[in-house]
């Protein structure tokens, strides 16, 4: 059985949202303030984007100079 539930917030919102089946109101509120469906996804994406930024910066300020 899946421990995630989907909530459709419509096209003018952000489309569908996934919550943990055990999510409390506070977690729902928290997720409603983010475009990501979970804290983990948000963190991993932030880390990947930052590493890409770092790589690009290194490329133009160190390796290609």
């Amino acid at each position: 059985m899946s421990n995630k539930i989907d909530v459709d917030t419509g096209s003018d919102g952000k489309g569908s949202h996934q919550f943990s089946a055990q999510a409390d109101t506070q977690e729902m509120e928290e997720r409603a303030l983010s475009v990501f469906s979970s804290e983990r996804n948000e963190d991993i994406t932030a880390l990947v984007f930052t590493l890409i930024t770092t790589f690009v910066v290194l490329l133009f300020t160190k390796w290609m100079v």
Binding site: E29, L33, V35, A46
Partner: protein
């Protein structure tokens, strides 16, 4: 057609960005930019506005011809784009116009009111960004088209915290020595637990207490942002924490130097006290300079103590994750806390800190990207004209009041045309660098003593020494650029965060955060005062 109408804001904002980029590119705004000191960002302004403008119009076109779907592209790119561009435009407005105008206005008012509002109230992009966000949401409200984009604010703030790691290196910790690290660590943990205890006593929400404890224990904005997801703090609680820390810092900026002078602290003692007791790094620097503008040791010690606190961030996140889990009735094992609860973006902060410590961005001994290079290098030489000025001054004995070490450093600058170690030691890097740095310190001392009117020398010779010192102080382009990115991420994120703070939510939080913050801050300041006064006689910076 109706889809195109829904995307009007995207077309309008994209168009404005492109027009602005074109106007800046013609140079017609150059006089205005020079007057507010932003002319050096001209290329950046053109590039950023051009890219954002094109992105806005392209997204508008795609949104107009394509029906909204529930795909990753829609959720993370097409729908938030309008809000993202609005936040970016506001961040540009804050960084390129509002902040410089506040600085100029503050300088103009200084002779009338006697102090610089900008410095005292710390009205930098952090505070201004938050205020702009709060102002918009409580007046016109968040426009419908921007609602989805504003929700990217926290994500972008996390990127800022990760990048923060790049600014520090392990060499900073090594400089302090074990004793001082215990001192800083003790006060960080002590403050965190004191605020948690106060929160319990005053029956404040766990999320508010958690985020305030990190802010008061570690340092301002970054710690607040880093801990907020762990304790599920709301936007207004983060804003209150940032506000409390800055207000407390304002009081400290005036009180610390006065008390330090009254009890006769030495420069290193005061540096250690200010670096431990004051939270915001800009306010630490202001207090150190107010105490002693001549001896650079005060500022250096204060900054290093202040910076060391940031490196306790991952530990504090771990402690608060455990505390919050237990307080909310969860059964936590070691694995749950360390692996499941530990935020991945804090691991990112650690990863960049490690990369920075290995010397990937800059020599490992850097400090916020600044490092000293006393090796032989054509670019670090003084000019021929400067050498002649120094030559004449030394022959005429025009530098009076310097001690033997200072004179020897000046004579070596004359001999080698640059600040460096001994030529014979050039193959032994450690010895060469050590001698070079000692000469640099002696020349810095000459400048400081000249400022205090203890050493007599002409304006021209002062200029030569200043230039020679400037030449060996290098800045890592990589870290400067990464710091710039971090500032943009914070500016963007804080405006978005401000937009999630309503008057109602602020009224609900009340004045308790300020009361708790002040109690904890004063306790820490008083305790660290006695500890520093009794135990710190001299901080040896390796």
């Amino acid at each position: 057609m109706s889809e195109a109408r829904n995307n009007v804001p995207l077309f309008v904002m994209g168009g404005i960005m492109l027009v602005y980029a074109l106007i800046v590119n013609t140079g017609s705004l150059l006089p205005l930019m020079k007057s507010i000191g932003t002319h050096k960002t001209m290329d950046l302004q053109v590039t950023m506005c051009f890219i954002v403008g094109i992105l806005g119009i392209l997204t508008g076109i795609v949104n107009s011809i394509r029906k909204p779907q529930n795909t990753l592209l829609d959720r993370f790119f097409l729908q938030p784009m309008a809000g993202v561009i609005l936040l970016l435009a506001l961040a540009m407005l804050v960084r390129w116009y509002l902040e410089p105008w506040v600085i100029i206005g503050s300088k103009t008012l200084k002779p009338v009111i006697g102090f610089g509002i900008y410095k005292v109230l710390n009205l930098n992009y952090v505070v201004l960004g938050l205020l702009v966000g709060v102002l918009i949401t409580n007046t016109v409200g968040i426009p419908n088209f921007a609602a989805s984009g504003v929700k990217t604010a926290r994500f972008v703030l996390k990127m800022g915290v990760i990048l923060l790691g790049a600014r520090y290196s392990f060499a900073e910790l090594a400089k302090l020595g074990v004793y001082s690290i215990w001192l800083v660590g003790g006060f960080v943990m002590g403050t965190v637990f004191l605020v948690l205890w106060l929160g319990n006593m005053f029956k404040q929400p766990k999320s508010m207490t958690g985020v305030l404890s990190a802010g008061m224990g570690v340092c301002g904005v970054s710690a607040t942002v880093a801990v907020a997801p762990v304790v599920r703090a709301k936007s207004e609680e983060m804003a209150y924490t940032i506000g409390t820390i800055l207000s407390f810092g304002i009081i400290c900026m005036f009180v610390f130097p006065t008390v330090g002078k009254l009890v006769g602290m030495n420069p290193t003692q005061f540096g250690a006290w200010a670096g431990t007791g004051i939270l915001n790094s800009a306010q630490v620097a202001a207090a150190a300079l107010a105490f002693n503008a001549v001896d650079i040791a005060t500022l250096k010690v204060a900054e290093i103590f202040n910076i060391t606190r940031v490196l306790f961030l991952p530990i504090i996140v771990l402690v608060l994750a455990t505390w919050f889990g237990k307080e909310t009735g969860q059964k936590l094992s070691f694995k749950t806390v360390v692996i499941d609860k530990f935020p991945i973006f804090i691991l990112g902060f650690l990863l960049l800190f490690i990369m920075s410590s290995t010397g990937l961005f800059s020599p490992p001994s850097h400090y916020k990207g600044k490092y000293i290079d006393v090796s032989y290098n054509d670019r670090t030489r003084i000019t021929d004209q400067e050498w002649s000025t120094l030559d004449e001054a030394l022959k005429a004995g025009a530098v009076k009041g310097a001690d033997a070490t200072e004179m020897a450093a000046l004579e070596d600058l004359h001999k080698q045309h640059q600040i460096a170690g001994n030529f014979d030691d050039r193959n032994n890097k450690a010895v060469f660098d050590k001698v070079g740095r000692e000469r640099m310190t002696a020349l810095e001392s000459i400048l400081a003593q000249h400022k205090a009117k203890k050493i007599e020398m002409s304006k021209e010779v002062t200029g030569v020494v200043k230039h020679a010192l400037k030449q060996v102080h290098k800045k890592s382009k990589t870290i400067v650029t990464l710091t710039d990115c971090m500032i943009w991420f914070f500016a963007f994120g804080l405006i978005g965060l401000g937009m999630q703070i309503t008057k109602y939510a602020m009224a609900q939080a009340g004045g308790w955060p300020l009361v708790m913050g002040i109690i904890a801050g004063v306790t820490k300041a008083v305790l660290s005062f006695f500890v520093v006064l009794w135990f710190v006689k001299e901080v040896t910076l390796n």
